[in-house]
């Protein structure tokens, strides 16, 4: 691993802590969560609130489903050369009652995953630039 600084690939979407959280918003009125953040209008049809607070989402959940990417996606994805396939998981967050997609950490393949499996959020490199390492959230099987 190079000594370049680690910076978020997308600014403000997650904390940079050792045990990171996604950053969403929650409607002050009805309690609906939003990720990515929603600060302007509540999308619950029973609610017309425009007041939101920023919240850290649960950093653990269970697998709703999973797959992998065997082919290099087009830009803006920045691929390693040679391209390394990676797994992807859709993880259900209990408290928020929502499903969030993300890559699965390197070294974990679809054979290691199962619907319902507990997962936790971690940070890992998405790609490197000349100046820094862009990190993003990824899902990792929860240590037993």
């Amino acid at each position: 691993m190079s000594q370049k600084p680690q910076v978020p690939a997308i600014e403000g979407w997650h904390t940079m802590a050792a045990k990171p959280h996604l950053i969403g918003t929650q409607c002050e009125h009805c309690g609906t969560y939003f990720f990515p953040k929603q600060n302007d209008y509540c999308r619950n049809p029973n609610c017309d609130s425009t007041d939101f607070r920023e919240v850290e989402l649960s950093r653990t959940g269970t697998i709703w489903s999973y797959t992998n990417a065997c082919y290099k996606p087009p830009a803006p994805f920045v691929a390693q050369e040679p391209f390394q396939p990676y797994a992807i998981a859709a993880v259900q967050l209990e408290q928020e009652q929502m499903v969030v997609l993300g890559q699965v950490v390197e070294g974990v393949s679809v054979e290691d995953l199962k619907v319902g499996m507990p997962m936790e959020l971690v940070l890992e490199a998405l790609h490197e630039t000349d100046d820094d390492i862009k990190v993003t959230w990824k899902w990792q099987p929860l240590a037993q």
Partner: protein, 395 residues
Amino acid sequence: MSKEIAILGVGMHPWGKWGHNFVQYGVAAAREALADAGVPWQDISFVSGGATIRCGYPGYVAGATFAQALGWQGAEVNTSYAACASGSQALAAARNKILSGECEVALVVGADTTPKGFLAPAGGYRPEDPDWVRFYLGITNPTYFALYARRRMDLYGDTLEDFAAVKVKNSRVGSKNPRARYRKCFSAEDVAASAMVADPLRLMDICATSDGGAAIIVSSLEYARKIGKGDAPRVAAISTVTPTFASSVVEMPDIATDSAAAAGVEAQAYRASLPVKAYEEAGLGPSDIDLAEVYDLSTALELDWIEDLQLAPRGEAAALLRAGDTALGGRIPVNVSGGLACFGEAVPAQALSQVCELTWQLRGQAGDRQVQGAKVGITANQGLFGHGSSVIVKK
């Protein structure tokens, strides 16, 4: 008052990768539909076009583009964009015009020329665009299809062999369709030998994008009787409902679902809600359906649709497939056109092509693909941004 309209004529330009301007396909389909209906172009008073949007290409202003190509004759025009449901939305616009009494006979048309290679978002750093975000994070279209497929495997016990069997079934019947792009009969071994794209889906489980055009001539029932076509198939229902919050399934291009955390909110599956309004509007139920044309963006998705249309209980579509029920000659044939597996997707034409197939089937004109005694058919499709549709056609 009856909400039904008559289908007087249908036409399709064969699907392929022809590389011509999309207008050419639409004109060919429209002329075939007009000839099939026996209605002169000059009598059409409303042209309703299904559109797609690609980088602002102005030619995709569909209604007027086709009206001009066929020769301006003063007809009113409409252009509908509803992603994969564009054709159904254009059909609904024509139905409204006819049922309101403003128009007797209308042309509905959609055509597409797909660009080469991946459909990718514009560049830069644009985290406000969910399409940009998901590509940046490495999540492509097959990711979503594969998530749905894998969930079927883990929850219901569907297998790779089941998914391959959908391809084998559709290619067998599609090989008999002169308008299909892929007309080879594929075997389970062919599917298994194709490259894995997004586990568990292989290249041959996922549909391609194609050029194509489809057109339909629709009229009031009175007009149909007047020209001696009182027994023409009818559009009995068109559902173009949007999702109901909180939408429970992660959909392209989003990175997350709605949250169902608020009191009084339940997570709801969008696909399953699409036919509900169609059945209600037609006064028909799943047991009345003789055949279905569903949007098989992947082989596994055909199985999801069978359950969404309530043609099988949740989780049991693969059992129907294994029993041969969904094949031509089976109890409830699905995608006897060959489906997207044999056509590839031509977005603004695809929903209309499903209605064309049902029309040929209900008229008994489907030749080698004919479902014997077909009286009622249903279509279903879903696309980006909360667009989807389900249309019921009956004799």
